[in-house]
Symmetry: C2
Subunit: 761 residues, 2 copies
């Protein structure tokens, strides 16, 4: 148990370090040498250029007036209106920001109500004072429900407020879902003609002994969708180019090394760099590095050419997958929403992801295999959640400082110092947990990729879902029950269902301080870290020194990063869960939650405007996930309260509260029915309206040439395709910025980056 | 505990009474006076006519040769090949029969395996002999798993057979689902042009201040489906004719009474029948009945005419519902499978049920109200299941004969007589339960109607689902745990999840004899009752004497009945559950189950061919329900086995069996994915192919006049519509018989039956 003093100290440390981070950022962002780290978005859009500044001001900002306005970034980031923001950074970014705003909308009124009503009600009771002889009760617990006596009438305040909180949260959620669905439809409507609006991804094309896949597709759609069928994409069909993609990746790696050698040589022409050929470059005969790399590249380019030839000639390289384009949005909407044949596992049509969003490698997975992959990955995630216990229990032992004192006795004099004890209690537990959690997103992303999803946006969402489940069990419940998910499972199997809420009710109030420190370390500090971009800063300067020869290389070195929804969403979900569960039980947590949401909103708005360059645009497709998680959090909150009140023996209240989860569930199905379809289907009326407008504007649009080769595996694109793609993005659509680089981060490789390739292939 | 002797006696009694029923039927069916009771289907089809027989043979069959062939009906009912049966009685009937066949396919091999392997394994062990000092162990239990010793290696036989049974059942289910899906698609393909193939039911048409509902629909579909939109049905739109339907119903009732009076008068012209006008016809002044009824009819006919006028002129009587017809199956399939507008609660399109199948009254329910009705009805069903305990516990006390002896001591001498005791134990418990269950279907059907489903087929399915849940909890689990559903709920809440299978494992083997007697009384006897048709037999002769004046009246008095899926499906579901759960535990139950399925198949095949006249044709739409229930039964069986083996302390087997429910669930999702869509959607390829064939056959079909007024509320139909409808059924489609009577049983009223109406309206 931490005292109020511990908590204040910890808050001061964390708050202080956060402010230091911010000050460093405010200073660095004014320096020209970090322009490309803090404003890459503007460089990519071509608005800001290195040559804009006078030569002498290219490294350090010597203008003292600039430093007077060092906090302006906050104002600047808030100033941009939402519509302009959508234009500038895409709808996904705008909707990500709305999540933080949602947090504020939910929790600020809760905070006010709690501090006006609940805190006085709790603080003036005497439950903890009475029992203070036995138990060491910390000051901070006096503000929580633990201080209210059993069977007290004061508990009615908590019950009523649970109702008020639930109703308020539902109201805000409902409005927000409505707004976001509206924004999504408006956004889709305002877009220019884009290939994904006219294209359907068809999988499981059955074998036909008499026809090639391409002809088969053509005949099928000419008969069954003759009204609007236009063509199938990519010259012939989708190819399995995964092997080629690997070769291209290798070439690019070696090119980087070659570049590095050249720069080294230009700095020190006397010594040509050498490498060893053998194991890991440590053993074996010495070679001239540049010569070796050049010959390697030549060899691989040859290999790539052969592989490319094989792909085009080999019938097996053609996947039973096609991107089918229609001459109207209506036709595509119909095809994507209907069943094509009587065998529901053949000719499966779904909306094509936008070209940048396609995760090409997974198109090669046979459809029936996906089903088993899904089962296997689900099992793997369950195992991961159940057996992640070792690091978590380690953290738990750290969090309990008294235990450490007892076991490691020689440390006692150090730990007993008040200052160090406070630091340990406030800072260490959260930090240790955080380190273990840092490697997790990559693991979950790999699992999601193996699961076989076809678009980057889906990958992000599925990885985020896995991460959220992980956090609920291994952070929230594990901390509450002080046990791993495996131990929880045993507990749940051997306790009767009526005992579980009581267990929750017993354990949850005791953990408020732990979660407060977690919010500070995980929430505040990591958001501050996000704005400082320490890793990209170092990385950029390192690359700039080592590899950068041309302006193009420098652009590549900026690495602005995307929205990282796979990590952002589950974290926000956890804070909603914490805020809602503790709002009634220990309102002291709310100021920390509100600070987190406010601060995040500020920081992410800055990042979205100045830094991030999203890989794809899913038009807010992730909103239903967030909505569902907040609803689930509400239900956990209500069950917790039920349990807590039954431990407080306020038996008459149980039926009063038992209706809430049911009502919340009804709210859930209601909103799902009303709004979810905006994120799944494209209504025919909208499609037709947009078709008619387009037709009125330009009755002779040649869709066939407009969308030719929109969906081509990046490594198979010719120089001409790339030029066209580039033009498409820039001319066709002001809202979405050019994007050759878009798919390069997680896709196998976009070819624009390797100069030696494009001529040859 | 019953002994083997008790069981044999009970089987002999039940089997004997069943055989007596069958003999009576075999005798009665040869008598001309019951022709219309046992062969109504052939009268309706016009194949058999009363005039076919010579006058003297119109009442009793005096031909002794006929009695030599009195068992021919069995052979006759089996002889008709399936395709002819589908032609003759519709696909629903054929698929209902396949359910009983499925039972045989599943349980006959299980029976053989059990009696070859399990029964010897069980019978040769000594568990019950050892403990016979303490427990009274009945002979019959020696054949069950109860006789196997704890920790015995013999239990491996049970485990392996559980695997074999599961795999076999899955295999049979998979093949059957595939076959039924195929039959359904073939049936739909072979049908002639029928209105429901071209029509979509559109609900939630939003208000438009400037247009009538009809114009609004027309404009919407002319824009958004201009490719294939044809017209909307029913002159204007769907009217709220519920009040009119009530008046028509009243007129018909009074006409019946009038008819009766006329017949009475013709028999005894001296005394004119009189009635009292007041409360229930008991009090008040006396009136001349015929005069009164005639004037009443006149009054009501006038009222009906006014009401009809009001309907056509009143804007409020127009429901925001329309039947929209397309000029091709493709267009309708597209509309039914897609979302129309961005608000997913407006312009909801779904396949129209066939015209006979529409439950008109519920079309008037506002869509958003449906949602709350669903919640309310779900709650009502839960309450019904939970509080049905009084009759069930009553049955339970009857089943335990030793208890009765103890409480009602003066009955002891009677009960102690071996013969009477056997009767009581074998016969009474099942019968008493049966009586309580007889009123249930009507209650559940009313609940389903209130729930607001739009077609009779859906109503049947939903009532069947409710009934099945009811049976699982209040027959199966209530008998196993000897407690009401409410007590079970308490039990489940206060026991840990790991204890539940053990409880099941303890209790289930003890109840085998109870369920055997239940199968005989509920299964065998009610099937025998079904073929004897005692109630329709008496009812027909009563009506024939009292009300029948014309041939038409006589046809009406036949009351052939439909398939009664709402009661047939849940009962079969229960027998699947019993058979699967007890197959491994007490194989002695299997011969009774197999007898039930075989006997039912025989009887229902006869009924389907000779008696039933289904109200609608859903093309086997109920199959997925049956499939899902058998799968659920398998999972219950596996959990029971798990619990049983853990009570037998065969701990090493638990992980071996734990995989089975998971595998079964995977099987479930797999079959769902592969076959369910055949019952939900109409694939575009099939639709187009059928469209193209039709077009090739007759390029100038005038769909507009062909489908004019196909969907009109029965009470609003004109004489002309009726004639046309009649022609449609007879000419347009050889597979589906004419059906004016079809909707009369449960619909408010089909107007063909009231002569005074048709001219006036």
């Amino acid at each position: 148990m931490a005292t109020l003093q511990d908590l204040m100290l910890s808050a001061a440390i964390n708050g202080g370090s956060t402010i230091v981070f911010l000050l460093v950022f405010a200073f660095l962002r004014l320096q020209p040498f970090s322009d490309r780290v803090y404003y890459p978005k503007w460089f990519i859009k071509g608005v800001r250029k290195s040559e804009d500044r006078p030569i002498k001001a290219r490294f350090v900002n010597l203008d003292p007036r600039a430093y007077l306005h060092f906090l302006d970034w906050m104002w600047e980031s808030i100033r941009m209106p939402e519509l302009e923001l959508i234009d500038h950074a895409g709808l996904d970014s705008a909707i990500l920001l709305r999540i933080y705003l949602l947090g504020l909308k939910v929790f600020v009124p809760l905070l006010v109500l709690c501090f006006l009503i609940l805190v006085p009600v709790n603080a003036t009771d005497t439950n903890l004072r009475k029992s203070s002889g036995k138990l060491f009760s910390a000051d901070i617990d006096k503000l929580s429900v633990a201080n209210v006596q059993d069977r007290s009438d004061r508990l009615w305040a908590h019950m009523l407020l649970t109702y008020v909180f639930t109703l308020w949260t539902c109201y805000v959620l409902h409005n927000e879902y409505k707004t976001v669905a509206f924004m999504r439809l408006r956004f889709l409507k305002s877009q220019m003609s884009r290939p994904e609006q006219f294209t359907v991804l068809v999988r499981q094309i059955p074998d036909d002994p008499d026809e090639t896949v391409g002809l088969h597709v053509d005949h099928f759609f000419r008969v069954n969708h003759y009204e609007h069928y236009l063509m199938y994409q990519a010259g012939e069909i989708v190819y399995n180019a995964n092997k080629l993609a690997k070769i291209v990746k290798k070439i690019e790696d070696i090119e980087n090394k070659l570049n590095y050698c050249r720069i080294m040589e230009s700095r020190n022409p006397s010594s040509r760099p050498q490498i060893k050929k053998g194991f890991l470059g440590i053993r074996g005969e010495k070679l001239d590095a540049m010569k070796f790399y050049t010959s390697e590249i030549e060899r691989l380019v040859g290999e790539a050419a052969t592989e490319k030839e094989r792909i085009f000639s080999d019938e097996k390289a053609k996947l039973p997958v096609a991107f089918v384009t229609f001459d109207s949005r209506w036709g595509a909407a119909v095809c994507a929403q209907t069943q094509q044949t009587k065998d529901p596992t053949k000719w499966l049509a779904e909306w094509a992801p936008e070209p940048r969003d396609v995760y090409w490698r997974n198109l090669a997975i046979p459809y029936m295999e996906l089903y088993f992959r899904k089962i296997a990955i689900t099992a793997a995630v369950v195992v991961l959640i159940l057996f992640f216990m070792i690091p978590v229990t380690f953290v738990q032992s750290l969090a309990n400082i008294e235990d450490i004192e007892r076991t490691v006795k020689f440390l006692r004099p150090v730990i007993e110092r008040k200052f160090i004890k406070s630091i340990l209690q406030g800072f260490l537990p959260g930090l240790a947990l955080k380190i273990f959690l840092l490697i997790l997103p990559s693991v979950l992303m790999i699992l999601s990729k193996v699961e076989g999803h076809l678009s980057l946006s889906k990958l992000d969402r599925m990885a985020a879902a896995k991460h959220f489940y992980f956090m609920v069990f291994n952070v929230f419940f594990a901390s509450v029950f002080t046990g791993s998910a495996l131990q929880q499972l045993k507990l749940f199997l051997h306790k009767s269902p009526s005992d579980i809420p009581q267990l929750l009710g017993d354990a949850i109030p005791l953990k408020a301080t732990f979660f407060i420190s977690y919010i500070m370390v995980d929430g505040w500090a990591s958001v501050a870290g996000e704005i400082l971009r320490l890793k990209p800063l170092l990385f950029f300067h390192f690359r700039n020194m080592m590899f950068v020869k041309t302006e193009k290389d420098r652009e590549k070195a900026m690495a602005p990063g995307g929205l990282s929804l796979n990590t952002a969403l589950p974290h926000v979900g956890l804070y909603f869960l914490l805020g809602l569960v503790y709002a009634v039980i220990a309102p002291i947590i709310l100021p920390f939650i509100v600070t987190f949401f406010g601060f995040s909103y500020l920081v992410y708005r800055n990042q979205v405007i100045n830094v991030y360059h999203p890989e794809y645009e899913s038009a807010g497709g992730f909103w239903p996930h967030i909505h569902n998680r907040v609803v689930a959090s509400m239900i956990i909150m209500q069950l917790t309260l039920l349990g807590l009140l039954s431990t407080k023996r306020a038996a008459s209240s149980t039926p009063f509260l038992a209706g809430l989860p049911v009502l919340t569930f009804i709210f859930h199905t209601y909103t799902k029915r009303c709004f979810e379809s905006a994120f799944v289907k494209f209504p025919l009326e909208e499609a037709r309206a947009k078709d008619l407008i387009d037709q009125a504007k330009d009755p002779h649009t040649d869709f066939r040439s407009l969308f030719r080769n929109s969906y081509t595996h990046p490594v198979l694109k010719t120089e001409e395709d790339l030029e066209q793609g580039h033009r498409d993005w820039q001319e066709g659509d002001t809202q979405l910025v050019p994007t050759k680089r878009g798919s390069s981060a997680r896709q196998s490789r976009a070819p624009s980056v390797n100069n030696s390739m494009t001529g040859l292939l």
